[in-house]
Every structure is written in C-alpha cells, then in structure tokens.
Symmetry: D2
Subunit: 459 residues, 4 copies
C-alpha cells in the first residue's frame, strides 16, 4: 500500500504503476537522500519536534540501510514508488514508530529537490575534476611536442602555420571556461529547498537555516513555492554540459581527421583504437568518434528538460519526475567523454616527419609576406593584393613562395627587397608572429608557462 | 581478444572498453540478430559458400543460443563488445569451425542495419497496435457520453458548445494520421541492407534478393554505401513518435485541467490516480501529467539523433553506434504513453451535473446568434457587431443571451424576431450546427459511425 | 479599430500590438489567402448565402488587391493585425458592403489553416523540384567521372576502393527517400479545414466539399476541432526538411574535406569559392560549409515547432501564430541548400591524378584478398586473420599488398596461390566486386542506368 | 569585386552570392563594428602602423558613415557581402588610401567576434533591465493584493492556501537567478578577440591590451585560435535566454488559466486583450499565450547554435556565419516577452470575490490539520492518515473540514481537541504557516520588504 493511501479505495493498475514508478532510476539518489534525512532528523530533534531517542533510532536505522544498499542487500520495491518512500518504508520496517516521524515538516516535493541539488553539486565537482585532468593531458601533450609546427586551418583550408602547443591550448582555454561555467552553476544551485514542504512551508517550528548549513548549502531558499517548482538549476547544469560536449565534439572531429590516411598527422596507439570485423587493415579512432557522437545525447538531454519545463504552471507537477534521467545520462556521458579524451591525448604520437613534409603545401607564409609589405609602408589592402598575385604566380608555376627569386617577386611589386626571405617558409613565419596570444614561439611558451603554473605541473 | 584483433598488439584500456561498448543496450537486438544470421546462413549454403552441414550446425547453434538468452542463462561479455560479436563468439564456442564461416560476405556494418531495421519494423507494428487501442478507448468513452455538451475553448476561453464525442474524436483523428505516418515510415525502411558488407559489397556470389525476401523486406537496398551509412529511417521513425507524443501531451494537458477543482469536469478513478505524501486530501491525475511530461524525452531522443547524424561523412562512422538508445527509449516511452492514456480513458467519469451547471457561463451561443442574423440577411461583419453589443449588454446585466427579451434584443437590432429564441441556449446552439464535420448532433453521430466501423466496434 | 472590437472599450497598448502582430511575416500567405477567399465566396454564392452580384464584387475586388500587392502598391497595416484582416479590410474599403459578407461561415481559425496548407503544398512541390535538380547534378557528375576509383572510408579511415559514381549515388538514394517522404507529407496534409469556422462548424448551409474541391484538396477534414487545432502537418513537414538537411550536411562535410589540401580530391571552380580578407592564397568552399551549417537552423525550426505545440489544450491557442516563421525559414533554407549543392556539383573537378596517386595507401584491397581466401575454402574468420597478418607484414615493410611475392604470402598462409595477384590492387579489387548494389563496375553501371532512366537523362 | 578577389578569375554565381551573403542581417552590428574599427585605428596610429593623419581621416570617415546609416542614407550592397566589407569599402570610397590601411593586423575573423561580443554585452544589459522591470511589476502587483489568499496547486490540484504575493514572488525569484546568470555570462564573454587576426595573431607590433581596454573588455583573449573559433559565449547566452523563456512560459500558462471562465481569478484589461473575428463574446489573453508560445523559438534558437557548432574542427569555418540570426531572434523575442509580461502584470485585476468564494473547495487546510496533530504528538505518518480519513468523511458528506464538529472529528481520532478549529479554514491555515520562506503572512511580508529594498521601490 502506498504511504499516501489514506482515502484511496483502489490501488493503481499495473500499467500505471509501471509507467509512474521512478525507483528504477532515482535510487541513484539514495546516498544524498539519506544525508538529507539525517540533517532533517537532527534538526527535528533540536527543535523538539522529535525526541533525541527518536533521532538516534532514525540515524542508526539510516546507517543500516545505507550499508544494505551499498552491499547490494537492499530490496528496492516498485510498489514503494521511489527512493524516498523505499528508504522511509524500510526504516519503518527496521525501527518502527520513530520512522513515522521523519517526514514531519517535509514533503517529497522539497525532499527530492534537496537530494537532487546535493547530487548535482557532487556531479559538478566530479566533472570539473575530469576537465582539469583533460587540461593536464593536453598541456603535457603540448610539452612533448613543444616546437612542432603544424598547418593552421580556416574553412578546412590551410591558412597559416601554428605551433602545435598553440593549437592544443586552444582546447585548454574553452575547457577553462567550461569549468568556470559549471562552478557558477554550482554556486547558483547551492541553496536549500528543505522545509518548503509541499509548496507553502509549514506551521511547525523548524529551523531551515540549521539544515541548510548542515548540508553545506549557502542558505535556505527564500520562497517555498519557487523551491519546489523550479528546475532552472538542472537546465543551467545541462546547458553547461552541452557546451562542454560541443567543445569535445570539435576535438573529436579534429583528431579523427588527423588520424586519417590523408592527414596522417597523428597515430593513436593500439590501446585506444579498434579494428574492423571485415577489413583487417583498419585501425579506427573509435573513442574520438564516440566523443564526437555522444555530444548528441548531451544536447538531447538538455532539450528534453527544456521541453519538459515549458508551460508548466506552479507549483510541483508530476512531469518534473522526468527531470532526473536526462541529468544522470548527461553527467555519465560527459564524464566518459572527458576521461576518454584525456586517455586518447595520452596515447597519440604526432607523426613529425609526415607533418614536416606536408608543411610546404598551402602557402602558409602568405600572411607573413603581407605583414612584410605593411612594414614596408604598403597599405594592407594593397599588400594583400600583391601577395595574392604572388600566390597565383606560384600556383601557375607549382612552386612555393620561398622558391621565388627576388627578381620574380619584384616583377610583381618593386617593394620587395633582399630581406624578404627572412619572412618566407613556415619556420620563419612562426618566428615573425609576435602579438599577444599569437602563435609566435615566445608567446606560446609564455602561455604554456601560464598553464603549467595554473595546473600545478612542471616542465 | 577482439575478433578483429589480427594486427593489434595491445588491447584497449578499460576506460575505452567501457566507453565504446554497446552490449549493455544492443543486446535488445538479439532476436533480430539471430533471425538475420539464420537467413544469411541459409543463403550462404544455397549459394555454395558454406556446406549444408555447416548451415545446419549454425542454425541449431543459433537456436540453442536464443534459448539461453531467453532463459537468462546466456552470459553477455563486455569484452565481446556488442550483440553481434557476443552471439557469433558464443556460436563458435558451441559449434566450432562452421561458426567462423557465418560472417562470410557480411560486416557488422550491414548486419547491425539489418537487425535494427527489423527491430524498428516490429516496434512500429507494436506502436500502431497501441494507437488503435487508444482510439478504441476514446470512441468508447464518446459512446458512453454521446449527448453530453461541454464548453469548447479557444485561447482557453469558452467559445462555443460542443458535443463531448466531437471533442474526443478530435483526438482520434490525429492518432489516425499518427498511425498512417508510422506505416509510411515502415514501408520506407523496409529495404534490406544485408550484403552491403562494410560499405562496398562483396565479390563472393551471394544472393541479396534471397535474404531480403526471407526477412520480409520489400527488396535489397540498391546502393551498398547508402545501406550502411544512412540513418534516415530512424530519424523518420523518431519524428513520427515525436508528433504522436505532442498529440498525447495535449490530451494530457486537457485531462489534467479537466480534473482540477476549477474545471471539475472529469473524475479519474482511484486506479489511475495517486495521492500526496503530505496532503491527505489530494487525488492527482499523475499518469496524464507524466504523459504530458514524457513527450519531452521523445522529442529529446529525436534531437539527439539529428545532432548525431549532422555533418558525418560517408560511410559508417562509430558515432552511429549512438543511434540505438534514443530509439529504444523513444519506443518504450511512446508505448507507455499510449497504454496509460487508454487506461486513463477507461477510468474517467464525466461529472455531467457539474458540466451542465457550468454551461450557461461564457455566452457559448453567441456565434449561433450571429448565424441567425446572417440567415436574416445581415452581412456577417454587421451581425458580429450586433451580437458583440448584445453580449456587452448581458455582461453589464450579468445575464445570459437567452435571458434577453425580444424587446431588449430589438433595442440592439430590429432584425431580431420571435424565432430568435430557437437559436439561444447551448442545446439549441448544438442543434443548429449542421455543416460537415461540425458539432451538430447528426454530424457527430455520423462521425461516430465512421469510427465504429473503422475500428470494428459496435454501438 | 480591430474588426473584433465590438465590445472592447480600450485598444491594446503599443507594446502588445507590436508583440502580437503577425502581418510582418504572414503577408507571405497573401496569394493563398486570396485563392481561399475566392473559393469561399463562390461557394457562398452558390449556396445562396450571398448574391451573385456580391460574389462578383468580391472576386473583382480580390483581383485588384492581388494586383496591388504584387506591384508593391498595397499598404500593409500593423493595426489590421494579420494578412487576413488586411485583405478583408482593404476589400471593404474597395467594394463596401459585399466585403462584409465574405467572412460568413468562416473564422480566421479555419482560414489561416487553409491558407497555410495551401502554402505548404506549394512549398513541398518547390522543394521536390530542387531535390530532383540536385539528383540530376549528382548523376551528371557521376557520368563525367564514370570510371574514377576513389577511396571508400569508414571511421574516416580508408576501407575499400569504390567507384566515384557509386559514392555519388549514395547521395542520390537518400534524396529519393527525402522526396518521397515529402510527398507522403503532402498527401497527408492535403485535406481542407475551411468551414470548420472557429472550432465547431456552422449552422449556415455551406458546402465544404465544394470549396475543398475548388482548392485542390482531397476532401474536407472530418472533424472541425481537429481542423483548427492541430499542426501535425507542419511538424511532419519540418521533420522531413530536417532529415533532408542532415543528408545535405553530410554532403557538405564530405566536399569540404575533399577540397582540403590534405585530401585534394576536388577543385571547386572560382564561381563557387570565396577568398580571405587577410590570407591571399585561400580558396574556400564556403557554399558547402554553409550547406553544412544551415542544417542547424532547419533542425532548430523543427524543435521550435515541437516545443510550441507541446502541451497545448484544444482548440486554437494564440501560441499557434508562431507556427509560420519557422516554416518559412525552414523552406527558404532548404531550398537554398539544395540549389547551392547542385550548383557546387556542377562546378567541381575531380583531381584524377592526385586521387590515383593516393589510392595505393591504406591497403584498400585487403577485403578483396579475404574474399579470395574464402573462395579457396578458408573460413572467413580465419581468412580475416591471415589478411590481418599480411597487412601487418606490409606495414612493417612499408609496402602494398600487391608488392608481396607469392612466397612471402605463402609464408603467411599456404593457401595463397598464383591467381592471388588477380585480386590485388584497387583496379582489380573493383573488378572483383559483384554483389547487387556493390561497387563493382557492372553493378554501378546498372545503377547509373536506373537513375538515368528515372531522372529522364541520357548518357 | 570582392576585397579578397586578388587571385580569383571568376566571380561567384548569383545563387552562391545570395546564399552566402550576410549583409541582410549582420548590418545590425554596424554600430559595434564602427566602435571596434575606431579603437583599432587609434591603436594602429599609436603603434606607428598608420599615421595620425590616416587615423583622423578614418575616424572622421567612420563618423560620416555612422551618420549615413542612422539617417537611412547608407546603401548596403550585397556584392560587398557583409557589414565589415560594406563599411570598409564605403570608407575607401569616402577617404581613399587611409581606409586601405584600416584592416592592417586584423581579419574579419577577429573583427566579427569583437563586434559580436560587444553586441551581446549590450543585449545582456538590455535584457537585464527588462527583467528588473518585470520584477518591479510583479512586486507592485503583489503590493496591490497584499492580503489576498489564493489556492496553491500541485498537480493542478488544490493543495494549500497561499498568499498571492507569495505566489508572485515565486516568479520574482527565478527572474533574479535569470539576471545573475546573464551577468555571469556577460563577465565570461567580456574578453577581447581583436588582434587574433585570421587565427594565428600577427607579426606587426600591435597593442592588444590598448584596444581591449578602449572597448571596455576585461582583457585580450589569451589564445588567438580560441579567439576566432569558439562560440561558447553565444551558446551560454542563448542557454540563459532559454531558461528565462521557460520561466516566462510558466507565467504565461498560469495567467492564461487564471483568466479562463473556470478559474476566473484574473481579469485582464481590454488594453492587453484581443477579441475574436467570429465569436463576439470572447476576450482572449493573447499576449500571455504568445509569451508561452514564443518560448519555443528561444529554445529553437539555442538548439540551432548547438547543432551548428557540433563537430566543427578548428579554426574559423564559414558555418559560423550562421551564429548571428538565432542570437538576434532570441534577444528580440526575450525582450518582447519580458516587456509584454510586465505590461500584462500592470493590467490585470484579481477577482477577489470570485477567489474568495472558490477557496472553501479543495480542503486546502488539510495539511494544517496534519501539523496540528503532529503538534499534539502524533507521528506524522499517522496524522497524515487521520487527516486522510477526515477528508474522505467530508467528501462523503460534501462538506468542509471546518464544518466537522469536534465529536465528528473525535470519532476519527481522539487526539482532536477544542483548539482544532484554530487550524481550520484557509485564513487560519495561512496564519499558522511560520517557517522561513513559507506563505505565512509575516514571512511573506518580510520577503516583500526584501524585494522592495532590493528593487528600490517603496510601499
């Protein structure tokens, strides 16, 4: 029989019970539910709403139940609907009368929000930790290949040469924003709904500040209706995960391409590759394909929750029960994506020879040549035009800019002088970059130092 | 060791194995996988690619494995990655050498598409069946309340009176389109990818028409690359489910509102209601709230798959492994939504007394009055204006249109005549509707007959 | 003053008027609105609800207004809210009294649905036409490069050689399903809501079958509430567009990659490329990047509409006004994507030399070699293993499979015989493919013939 | 001719030009583009890259162009592609040679990101202002109805009585988080990409800190590739808007319901209502229906951008041009939603009489009665059960809890005592709430004081 069964004559049908149950997934909250109940029971006792003896029996009973759950002994019952009712009913089986007092001045509406906020808080901490680990893996990979020059792309066309560490740090930077975004979300959700009860609060003399503090929240939520109705904290959390997932999908795309025969810039080790059931020669970068692909479900989870909350009137509606699975899925997925990306980073080798031989193609030094002309006083638009014609000349001759003689260059523009060859070729191009944040060797080295310090690494 | 392990020296890391495995969810395809393998083995034998003896050993072995899976004895191994490899490897353990020939002229790429199309085909049939059941439940509910007049709403404002069966059939109609949309999708996906192999087909003398026919497909797919690369069949399937889900969410919203104290039009039985853990007087229409809410995950599943497929180059990419869980979730959810909606329909009572007493409010007969004036030759825009003023007069007097005397009406417009009272009041308004598809008693009765015949019911 | 203003004392505020207006976008429906009104007026006259003279004045007036709109003279007024009211009010200004009778037995609720279904019907025809044009462009491109062998990829790794026409037809096939999906949608939406009026039908003696037929609909909709409430026809339409968009995004991705320096397989002409404002050497395949990118808004449009419709109770709600802009945007976008893709197809050249020199890498003939062993009686799993070891041997020696001597091959497996060299090298591999739908020359030629006939082209 | 046209022989086709242009929408950035160019030119001059005279001509020219744009004289040209090229080319037409130097050490890649971040920063400020105005309107509405008791709902079932101000503050609270979320986003995006150039920085001696400071940014971005590649700032912005939109959709739903005949709790004034073209008696709360509905497009815009960015490799890809329209649409929509919600709040009257007469239904005091029993020492689960039976007794007798005599109550539980009637009836129930954040009169009054102070209002 349901705990709310007082005035009900019939029990629900099997189909309804199966459709409305949440125990199959919300048992994941068990630990936070018990933590919340412990704080609640302690507060009830201090406020004189239950006796110290009741409290002790409740706390001891909850300990026993937690042990049972963690050892796998605990029997989850679908007829007891959800994690809260399962634990409370088991507690009643175990300690009797005192358990019936635990739900004093509490409703499942505020209870589940409290549990879920605690769960999300821990999940954010776990994700941020994995973001840090991926940042570390990327910085270490950068240090292993500190002077490697690779093509930089726009429109998937070769554009300018860049130092590999510069490119890798272009993934470390967004991850930093991802972590900070999650921490902003954490700070905003870290308020305590407990004591909001069903929606209106209670007339019993509870102390919401005590439970809030005991559970590590910043403060109790100010409005009891808001406390049980809103799920913006999960919307924000899943938005943050989606943005991180998009970042990782881009890394996945890049590494999948770089591992292709055509690029051939990276070689993943066997330990992060898989083979084909029919093509014996294949060595596939599956983990990064899945990192790219799994971004889709993180985004889908966010959309689910936005659709769920749209147009719901106040206060709690049963629809909100659907808030948990997308969050659990999003968190599990993003953690896997981060872990596997870090592991992949630790298991790839850059094919320096192949990269080096590939660099001459694509006129990566063209912009450097344009800068040269600007330094000589040519307006940028004019210098852009001159270099454009120089490149066209190379294309027609199938050669590189650095292969052009001074005379040939001068036939295009008399401004070219002997010193022009200090600006041609990718190594010289890299040396010439100097602006803050650019791919110049010194700039990149400074940036690496910044991250080494920040991530507490050493060279 | 993986079956593709020939040239690999290291096995993948634990994190990668865990991240890339699919056995935890794709085992749901076991039955279709075995069906596909049976057809493939039979074809291989007929084409002389394996002996009849090999075939028989394979077929018998597959029978044994199917039995083991269904009795729960079968041990699914994560190190064997997916359902295909689990079954093939178990078959090898069981029957030895012949099993090694089963994967002749087949790749997991075409195998999984074949399995998945078979699975979707069955799922569509199961969903369509549940759509029919819900249509039946709605028509029966209409028949139970055949002459009940209820307010019809636009903008959630009372607009015109309608017969309840008319309103219920307004849910039966979209469900019909939902079923037909699914069947169109079924017809479009019912083509056989088997024999496309990895992506290019094979040089072995297979007969794709034979396997296609054996598996109930319309024909083999014409292009082997398309066969393994595209997932438009799941996108179409999940789109269809999303549209159905939106329809059901609207039904959910309506019934939740109608069960409220303010409407008070329907009373769900205890068997489809739940109570509150803190408010003993509550009786909540949770199943329909969840029907409304679960539409969100069906939409989220569709979005996941659209995002997944966006921008993937040809042919198979590992991202596509992520195609299954959203489909499994969408199907499970939509089936539950349909079942529970039907069960709810069977368990609600219309509060005829409450509805009847509520009808006079809202001037539901205003449009009928405007039609009256049009029949008298007044241009519609003028008659709309006259009725507008009549309503304003009623509002100022806090009365109904039917309460106005002929003199009062004539003071607004001299066109009003004695017969005007045959057009006032909701019962008379209903009687006056006569256009095809309208809420007039005869029209609705005809529509009910249509559905009774179509759904093979009887009055 | 609004046409519904009868009992209203104040007009709406400026902010509300601006927020709720739709004339800025729904004027796109003007032509279909006039077509609908013409059919409605003709029916009203035949049913004796207006005189023939009224009808003629209405029809003539509508002609004049259509002319004014198309010549740009017509003044759209925001205070007249929407396209329907603008045209009706202008008609009243123009022809006086008869215009006030046009809205007899009609509401904006059924009027807008009628207009919108007519508009969607035309839009589908226009899209299907553009799908055909893209199919033609792809088939022509295939014919221009009929014998070109290119690498086939899975996991972005080289897998097997394929004929370019085979790959191009792998885009033609999904486009065919896209067209058929749209035509299914067209058939399902081609039912007439006109006469459903606000939601309940009317008591005036209209003939819905007449207007339905005059407007080219299959039949009037059976249920008036359904007719004005549901938007599943746009959800289905936008789903179909989203699937097409995903297909095109994949083509975009592939061509962007193939145009890169690393692949170098295609060269787009200047007429479909753009340059860089800073890097003079760049030639970017922007149109296909945008084809890939614009898939995002087509998907976003679908999501908007799904969210919009979720949880709306019956019948018409003002929310539904938001149904139009996403559809207009989706249609405009998908048409542009199709057109530009076709134009790109007409403007690319395959770099045959580069492709040819690239083919030896990647052991594309490995599967063919495995098939060879199967033909010799080796079980597939064993042959897969033998070829795996052969590839590993090649990798260690940095050579191709075809470079191995018979002795070297025999040292791996004694089954290899003299005839093995008829299976090695990409040209021979292609020749060996023979299964239906495979990349074998004859199979592909047959497929080309199929499409040439279907698209009414000639070789 | 395009500004990048140096090596191009053909110009792009019309279809490509139309498909790839952005001037039709990105001209919205004109003011921020000019601001950015002014800062850039000043920096170039101070660094000696252009002369002071060049700078002055550029600055004067930009002033002229800004004036032309704002007076409507400026001619936007599609053949000049985008806002940046239009302004630069117009500047060249105007001031000649110096204009050609403006693009020194700048690319459109960093330019557009700079403009867009500036635009988003202003948009966030404008949205936050409108959030504040809505909060003010809600608090003022609360003050106008300070002691009004209304039913509180869960599952759309009456649950407990609440003070109207308590309910309205339950919308003010989430709006506060919305504002803070936007401000976090603003702080995170307020870093300067200018000087990142195409992707790699430059070799010219620019001062990125100077431009960053001049434009009010916190600092220049640390990594030039990251600066031009990432769009996480718009993803975060649109996520924040989506969450706000969801909040407003809930308000819309509630007010639409409350304005219905069935609830009848609020009466919107004519100035925020609209009528029907066919039903003269209707008065529809259209603005709030559209607030609810328009949440859909804000969510769709977010999804578009997530899909857009998924899987894009570094650095800039043309796909990213599609980042602007969804943002412009999201901002325009959310601003309208906020404004109209505030205006609606200012134009509704609570129907106090109707609400008061509705309160007795629904046993809203049941929880208060349960609290009473708890205070008497009954364990909560037992008291919940007793009250459940009391409610069932009332339902069977069709009476209220407060109608039960002490004897009747005692027949259910002997714990009931004379003082029980101090806990029955909604007014007494409200008085009994006392917990922090609850709906008790004093608690709510304190909360109102908090918001009055915070929003700088007065009682």
């Amino acid at each position: 029989a349901k705990l709310w069964g007082g005035r009900f004559e019939d029990s629900v049908t099997d189909a309804v019970e199966k459709f409305t149950e949440s125990i199959s997934f919300d048992k994941a909250l068990y630990s936070h539910d018990i933590t919340g109940s412990r704080a609640h029971a302690s507060m009830l006792a201090r406020q004189g709403l239950i006796t110290d003896d009741d409290r002790d029996k409740i706390l001891d009973g909850l300990d026993v139940i937690k042990g049972q759950i963690e050892s796998g002994e605990f029997v989850w019952r679908t007829d007891r609907e959800d994690v809260h009712m399962n634990i409370e009913a088991a507690l009643t089986d175990l300690v009797g009368e005192p358990a019936k007092k635990l739900h004093t001045a509490r409703s499942r509406n505020d209870q589940v929000c409290t549990d879920f906020r605690l769960w999300c808080r821990d999940a954010i901490d776990a994700i941020v930790l994995r973001i840090r680990k991926l940042q570390v893996a990327l910085v270490k990979l950068a240090l292993k290949n500190e002077n490697l020059i690779v093509p930089g792309y726009t429109h998937m066309q070769r554009a300018q040469p860049v130092l590999l560490p510069h490119l890798l740090l272009a993934y470390v930077e967004p991850l930093e924003r991802d972590a900070l975004r999650l921490l902003d979300c954490r700070a905003r959700l870290n308020f305590c709904p407990l004591g909001a009860c069903a929606l209106a609060g209670t007339g019993l003399p509870i102390d919401r500040f005590m439970t809030s503090e005991a559970l590590g929240f910043t403060a109790p939520m100010r409005n009891s209706i808001d406390a049980v109705s809103d799920r913006d904290f999960v919307l924000e959390f899943l938005s943050a995960n989606s943005i991180t997932a998009v970042h990782l999908s881009r890394l996945g795309e890049e590494w999948v391409l770089w591992a292709s025969e055509e690029f051939g810039f990276i070689v993943p080790s066997d330990s992060v590759s898989t083979g084909s059931s029919i093509m014996p020669q294949k060595k596939n970068p599956d983990p990064m394909e899945l990192v790219r692909g799994k971004s889709a479900r993180v985004i889908g989870d966010l959309v689910s929750l936005l659709v769920l909350c749209k147009g719901l009137p106040h206060a709690y509606n049963r629809d909100l029960q659907e808030d948990k699975e997308p969050v659990f899925d999003s968190v599990k997925t993003i953690m896997g994506m981060l872990e596997v990306s870090a592991e992949f980073a630790e298991n790839i080798t850059y094919n320096q020879e192949r990269i080096k031989s590939a660099l001459p193609a694509g006129h990566l030094d063209a912009t450097t040549l344009a800068d040269y002309l600007v330094k000589k006083g040519i307006p940028f638009r004019t210098s852009h035009d001159i270099v454009g014609r120089s490149v066209a000349f190379c294309v027609s001759r199938n050669c590189r800019l650095e292969d052009l003689s001074l005379d040939e260059l001068r036939s295009i523009s008399p401004t070219f002088d002997k010193d022009v060859h200090e600006y041609l070729g990718v190594e010289k191009a890299i040396k010439n970059f100097s602006s803050y944040g650019s791919t110049g060797s010194e700039c990149v080295s400074n940036q690496l130092d910044y991250w080494i310090a920040k991530l507490e690494l050493s060279r």
